[in-house]
Amino acid sequence: MNLQRCRILGFGKLSGLELCFHAGLNLVFAANEAGKSTLQQFLLGLLFGPLRDDVPHQRRLEAWVEKFTPWRNAEYGGILWCRLANGRDLEIHRAFGKEDSRAEIRTAGGEDITGSYEHRKNGDVVFAGAHLGMTKDLFESLAVVRENRASDFHGPETIRDRITNLAQTGDEGLSVARSLGQLEQALEELGSDRAPKRPFRLAQERVRAFQEERRMLQARWAEFHEWVQERNRLAQETEDLKRQALDAALQVAAARWKETSGRVRKLEKIEAGLLEVRRGIAELDGYGEVPVDHLDELNRLAGEKSALELRLEEIRAALARTQDQLARLRTEREKLAPFGRLDPDIGPEKLTEWLVGFRSLDDQQKDLERRACGVEEERGAAGKELERLGPVFGGQVDWQAKVQEANEEERAVNQKYMDLGEEIAAKNAAMDEARRAVTRGRTWGAAGVALALATAGGALILLEPNPGIAAPVYTVALALAIGGALFFMKASRSRRSRERLRREIEELKETRDRVRQEAQKTHFEIGVAMASAGSRSIEEFLSAARRSEQVRSRVLALETSSRDLGGQRDRIASERQRLCEKLKESLESAGLAWSPETLDAQVAGLRENLRHFKTLDQEYQNCLQTEGSLLEDEIRFAEQLKQRGARIQSILSEGKQDSPDSFREACRKHRWLTTLQEKEASLLREYEALSDRRPLEEWRERLKGLGERLPQHLKADEAGPGTEEAEQAERRVAELLAVTREKHARLVERINQAFQNLRTLSEIEEDLAQAEGNLEEIAKNREALNIALQTLTDVSRQQQENLAPQLNRAVEQRFLRLCGARYEEVKIDPDFRICVRESGTGALRSAELLSQGTRDQLYFALRFGILDLVSNSAEPCPCLLQIVIFTCRDDLRDLAHAHSAHLVELPL
């Protein structure tokens, strides 16, 4: 779109003015305060109108409308002629009045085509927006440059940010990063469930708190309903118990009636009983004096008397039987009298023991004799073997130890011999050294003396005439002589030392020989023994020695064994003899002769007869004892029988009775009388207890009174409970009633208090709804902000990636034209970092490193490049620049000429 000309009817200070423009660059110049900025706003107003773009539904005027009201009384508005890219000419008529903001668009032919444009609700006609494809804000941001912003480039970040903002939003002041930051901040302010003090979390907690409160209330409601049911149940139970209490009271009355009725009957019965008892007492009068205390004694005595009589008869029969048996035993015993003469301590068992012992000792004696013969034979054989081994082994010498000792001694002697040998060798070496020292001392001493003599002689001969020189020579000769003497002394000492060493060596050699001889002495002794034994080697010798040692030990053992066997044989023989004597003596006592051949049969016969005699004897003794005992018993029981009879007679006399049976009858009657008297007393006591000291007539009256209040069926009910039982039942019901009433009262109180300190469900639901609504709003806002953030990030990234290459081309084209041949390439990366390449060096330079002028050029290139990208590509966008140029009019003409620009001057 090219602006052709404009007519200003009235706009600020400008009025009635018409200006023509040309294609390309127009330089509008004027003096200060002439209205250049006013003209720029006028053109903007004609293109986009005076109404605010951000409130399309309302007729709201831009702020400048008030500011640019015409100074003079002119019509507020103007006309703009423009030509579109397709060659079509259009006129825009606009009036900027406060109340009237008309807009009219005509063709060059005067046809009004306003209706073909979009009309907003606020009445605005969208003209420039329709042709240029951008809003007023965007046009102002991109196509109107009010000042030189390029000078604001400070660093790489500033440049990149501004390019990014310009490229993406069309406005340098608007930052994508800041927008994202704003959204993030808004999201942060709402918070998340991890931020405990932010609205989102607070709203969540509030919702949870109300839900919990509701849950608690509902739980209490459930409890409440249970309590109400329980209360109703208890109320019903109370009513039942009241009825039961009434029934129980009736049962008590019935029981009391029955009890009184029973009492009256019993009292009447007792009265009848008393009459009968008293009649019986009268009949038994006279039996009260019988000594019934003696009845037991009498009975006991009568019983004892009968028992004694019976016992006495038995004793006498037993005595007769015992005496018969005694006579029979005496006869048999006399037949076996010889066996009774034996020692009473010797029984059949003893005889058997002696016989068995005798036979056993006999066998043992024979066995010992056999063993003694065997030992003697063995000892003889061992003695022969000792003789065969030789006499050398007959002594007490331990040849094993001796050989071992000799070996160890030999090892010690060898060691000592070697030590002495080494010592002798060392002494020999020392003696050689001493010998050489003697030779050296004698040689050097002789040489010294010889030289001293020669020097002294020479000096004496040759330097006699010159004593000054001869004196030192004599001194030298003296020194040499002293040296020679000293050597001689040293040689003498060495000689003495050599002599001493020689003696020591001799002594050592002697010692060595002595040691060797000592060692050989033991070996010699062993060698003699071996020769005597005929052994060819030491091992053979030692084996023979060991064998002889064993045989000698065996001989000793056999000798000991032989001695032991002899002792045993003597002891057994003695014991055998003792037993033989005893057996013989026993046989002889019984009249039997000793015979070793028939000893066993004789001892068996003796043993059998002895046993029979002893049995008869024992039986006889027992019978004698029994007879004595029976005789004593007979006497004692006869005496006791006599005593009992006398006592019985005494008792009968006292009771005035003639026999025990009549005494017993009198006692029985006496006892019956006592029983009747006791029964009378008991009945009297029972009567008193039952009547409670009230007469029977009174009880009858009371029974009548109780019966009047009682239903007949209860009187007839025989199965009813007793008074105590009925009273217990009544008490139990009363207690149950009290407990149930108390439970009921407590439950009623609990029901009344059930919802104290609890809010109503409606209140909780209302608060919960509010809290949930609030939470939902916050959640929606969070979601919306997240979506906005994500979408903006994605769109921004995508746009940056798409835009960067396009912008690179657009900027490069303009920048290279503006800077001439100084630079050859512009590079803008997807992050909008910008660099230029120098033509000469080929070096890439970052924008912030460029000179101020170059940066200005780059800035304009960027602005126009972005304008190309953002605006409608089919319709070029007019640009309104405001540049401060300090120059005179002639220079301005030259400048315009140089840049093919047209000059337009605003008149004052």
Binding site: Q58, F224, N232, F755, E763, A784, A788
Partner: protein, 386 residues
């Protein structure tokens, strides 16, 4: 019983009192909800006072006296005490879908005064008031939803007394929008059964049922105290008279805290004072110190206007009992024009417009907010979540 009665019979017909109801659905805070519930009690007490003052013979309560799930023991005690004070005026209660006769219901309490009769069965049962020559037949809901046409179970009544029927039910002839149909009925199920007056409950608007069949008068008595934003009209109960077989019905207005909705067009407003002024201009009509007001803001709101509702509520504290805000204003942004731009902002708007095109209603709301917040940020304006 004969119809020639010596004196007039007077009665009150009310229903849908909804004691202890919750106003969570209306978005009221608990503080206001509590006041409103107290108001319901107060209005009900006033109806009972009117009954004593007018010396009515009985009161008909056609269901929904309270809310089964929410009624507190305190309210039960309140009802028992109020009815007890009412003696000898008799009270006939026909439980509805909100207060059905269920286990655990306060109706199961045995402490109701003798002058109270509760129709406990899902059958029409009659109570003969021989001293008045009146037969009152009632039906009680035993469940929270009754789908059957229960009036079909009602046989023709004997003509030896004034027959009055009380029940909860939904007239299928004119169902209010959004109202559920509990105990559906039609006029031909009521008419022709010797009924003089039929007291209905369930619909909250006062209205008679048109009866082209006979002289039976069938009325919904209206709600004594509004329960939500849809019940903004006058609240009422009915005072009836029966004389010589003729029934005369008079509606008595009641209610303490009505619900009202104001729609404020915000186009051209640049300050919140203008909004407050616009609300207060309604003084004398909808805005009173007792009203619970919903202000719905519409139109295009200047982005510079700070819509801090808390501050506006403070300004309106003396004018209304409670104000509830509903911001339906549109942002003063031309998203269509922005979408035409070849800038980042244009790309952003286009991206979100593309998502909006295929979004559900719920998603739309979030996406529209995302678009608004993004554009606000891109235009360098303050991002202010709603």
């Amino acid at each position: 019983m004969g119809l020639d009665l010596a004196r007039k019979i007077r009665f009150i017909h009310t229903s849908d009192v909804h004691l202890d109801t919750s106003f969570a659905g209306s978005g009221l805070p608990s503080k206001i909800g509590h006041r409103k519930r107290e108001a319901i009690r107060g209005t009900f007490r006033r109806i009972l006072d009117d009954a004593k003052r007018e010396s009515v013979d009985f009161i008909l309560i056609a269901g929904d006296l309270f809310e089964h799930d929410r009624i507190t023991p305190d309210t039960t005690a309140f009802l028992i005490q109020q009815f007890d004070n009412l003696r000898p005026i008799r009270v006939f209660i026909a439980p509805g879908n909100h207060d059905p006769y269920l286990a655990g219901s306060p109706y199961c309490e045995e402490s109701w005064p003798e002058n109270v009769h509760i129709f406990r069965e899902e059958k029409f049962r009659a109570v003969e008031l021989r001293d008045l020559g009146v037969r009152i037949t009632g039906f009680g809901f035993n469940r929270t939803h009754l789908a059957e046409h229960h009036f079909r179970w009602l046989d023709s009544l004997p003509a030896d007394a004034v027959n009055i029927v009380v029940s909860h039910g939904s007239d299928l002839g004119r169902v209010p929008e959004g109202k559920s149909k509990h105990g559906p009925l039609t006029i031909d199920e009521i008419a022709g059964k010797n009924i003089h007056y039929c007291a209905l409950g369930h619909y909250h608007q006062l209205r008679p049922l048109e009866n082209p069949i006979d002289a039976t008068q069938v009325w919904y008595c209206g709600i004594p105290e509004g329960r939500g934003w849809r019940e903004t009209g006058p609240c009422s109960y009915l005072l009836g008279e029966v004389e010589k077989g003729e029934v005369r019905i008079q509606a008595i207005e009641c209610g303490q805290y009505p619900f009202e909705t104001l729609v404020i067009e915000c186009d051209g407003f640049s300050t919140r004072e203008q909004i407050i002024d616009a609300i207060l201009q309604h003084r004398g009509s909808k805005v009173t110190p007792r009203v619970i007001l919903r202000v719905r803001l519409t139109g295009t709101l200047d982005p510079r206007v700070d819509l801090s509702t808390a501050e506006m509520e403070e300004r309106l504290a003396d004018a209304v009992l409670h104000v509830q805000w509903e911001d339906r204003t549109l942002p003063a942004l031309d998203f269509e024009a922005l979408a035409q731009e070849r800038t980042l902002c244009g790309n952003f708007v286009r991206a979100l417009n593309a998502r909006l095109a295929g979004a559900s209603a719920q998603e739309r709301e979030v996406l529209e907010r995302a678009r608004l917040y993004g554009v606000q940020a891109l235009l360098g304006r303050e991002v202010r979540p709603r």
